[in-house]
């Protein structure tokens, strides 16, 4: 399974086309407040991660996730 850093690097790449405001992407970048992802875009982003790493990410984790780093952390916890 991938580690935290690998999840993070993939997420930076996958967010590229969705980063319309061209904000700097770091672990503390907020997916909605900073990048401005819509709920539909969040789902598309999650699907990209799922397809790439062949994992399923439960929707239940989303209320606890705001930043890219938090998402990478959660995904790693679910797929140790």
């Amino acid at each position: 399974m991938a580690d935290y850093r690998e999840y993070l690097e993939f997420m930076y790449g996958a967010l590229g086309p969705l980063n319309k405001k061209d904000v700097e992407l770091t672990e503390t970048t907020d997916l909605v407040a900073d990048i401005g992802l819509s709920s539909l875009e969040v789902m598309e982003f999650i699907e990209k991660i799922e397809d790439h790493f062949d994992i399923s990410i439960p929707l239940n984790i989303l209320p606890d996730v705001n930043t890219i780093g938090e998402l990478a952390q959660k995904v790693q916890e679910l797929n140790p």
């Binding site: 819509s38 709920s39 539909l40 789902m43 699907e47 062949d54 994992i55 399923s56 990410i57 439960p58 929707l59 239940n60």
Partner: protein
């Protein structure tokens, strides 16, 4: 502030009010027939009612309802578990079970509470729910309450469902798969044959929401699962009485005897007043008509095919296949608002749907076809859309 999160909606409503356009909550001031009414002071063809078989205005259903009011009064004033269980409810449940060829049925006060209640209750902590990404809001509300692990599969994508079931391994024994027969926004039909085959291969339980397909699809009108020939693979059928049956209420039917125990665990069933008897009576009569008059479905599909072809020929972007829901997809909000108002002015009432209620970023002019529409009315609807193109409100090249 508490109200900050509503500002965007308040701004949108103000924008609509500024244009004197009311696509949400347009008031029907008078009904002339199942397909005609007075909306906002204008006589219009009703093309956004989900009244698929036209039974809301059927004289036999009205008479059954009237007789029930005389016999039972206006309401039950209680829940099914308290004082609200009448002989009429039990009769409707028996008839629904018989219609689906199973032994168990539960009736709910609305379709929303049926799908929300079943999805919130069937799976719980430690279980998994696999739901189609374009599932109805009631299903999303239900699964959120369930406490189960919630995983989306890509809309109408059996391969993605298979992948996710494979990842679950032994946990599929505790997994509820949720699909709909016809998806309500674009009218696309679920690939239930493939979904059922995957369920057979990997395991799990399957619930199909037939809200927009019961009375509409299948040899005897049971819905998309019957049309796909996979009813034996379906563990739970859910649906509504508010569309093809022209009343209000919802249902779940199942071959599993456990449904009788589940009944007593469904909060939206326990803690709400039961269906009013007059509605139960009209629903029972409508169900009888669905079973006795399959020609209604033929007429519905003839009308759906005619509207779909007419709008396709105009170059409009529609859903993927012919269905009683025919949705025109537009990319621009202001354009959708102007088109909705122009259609009303041209004598056609449709639904305007905006994201996030739509499955993409597109805006929809959503038409629902009825068996009660005449051929002339379908042609008038097509003509009203043609006038949008003639007036420059839609350019096919700019369609979503």
């Amino acid at each position: 502030m508490l109200f900050d999160k509503f500002q965007e909606m308040a701004d949108f409503q103000a924008e609509l009010a500024g244009k004197d356009v009311k696509p949400f909550g347009a008031v029907t001031e008078e009904l002339i027939s199942a397909t005609e009414g007075i909306v906002q002071g204008k006589q219009v063809i009703l093309a956004g009612t989900n009244n698929y078989l036209g039974l809301s205005y059927d004289s036999r259903c009205i008479e059954a309802s009237r007789a029930a009011v005389d016999k039972w009064g206006t309401g039950t004033t209680g829940s099914r578990l308290a004082n609200g269980s009448f002989a009429e409810h039990q009769a409707l449940e028996a008839e629904m079970a018989d219609f689906y060829g199973v032994d168990h049925a539960i009736c709910f006060s609305t379709g929303y509470s049926a799908t929300m209640g079943m999805t919130a209750t069937l799976a719980g902590p430690g279980d998994v729910i696999l739901l189609d990404g374009d599932s109805h809001s009631s299903i999303y509300s239900g699964v959120k309450l369930s406490g189960a692990e919630i995983i989306r599969f890509k809309h109408n994508d059996p391969e993605d469902l298979a992948k996710r079931l494979r990842r679950l391994g032994d946990r599929t024994a505790n997994t509820l798969i949720i699909a709909e027969g016809i998806y309500s926004m674009l009218g696309d039909v679920a690939p239930l044959k493939e979904v059922a085959a995957i369920k057979r291969e990997y395991g799990g339980y399957l619930m199909v929401d037939e809200a927009h397909s019961m009375g509409v699809m299948g040899e005897s009108g049971r819905g998309a699962a019957q049309a796909a020939g996979i009813e034996n693979d379906v563990d739970f059928f859910a649906g509504t009485f508010s569309k093809s049956l022209g009343g209000i209420g919802g249902f779940c039917t199942s071959r599993h005897p456990e449904l009788e125990a589940i009944r007593f665990c469904i909060r939206p069933y326990i803690f709400t007043a039961s269906l009013t008897p007059s509605v139960v009576a009209s629903t029972r009569e409508a169900l009888r008509i669905v079973r006795a008059e399959p020609e209604l479905r033929d007429r519905l599909w003839d009308n759906a095919g005619r509207l779909f072809k007419g709008l396709t020929d105009l170059g409009l972007m529609l859903g993927p296949s012919v269905s009683p829901v025919v949705a025109v997809q537009l990319a621009d909000r202001a354009q959708a608002i102007d088109c909705w108002q122009a259609l009303l002015n041209a004598g056609v009432y449709v639904n305007m749907v905006v994201p996030p209620a739509t499955p993409s970023t597109n805006f929809l002019l959503r038409n629902s076809v009825s068996a009660a529409h005449s051929t002339e009315q379908i042609d008038q609807i097509i003509g009203a859309y043609a006038s949008l193109l003639d007036g420059g409100l839609i350019n096919p090249d700019q369609a979503a």
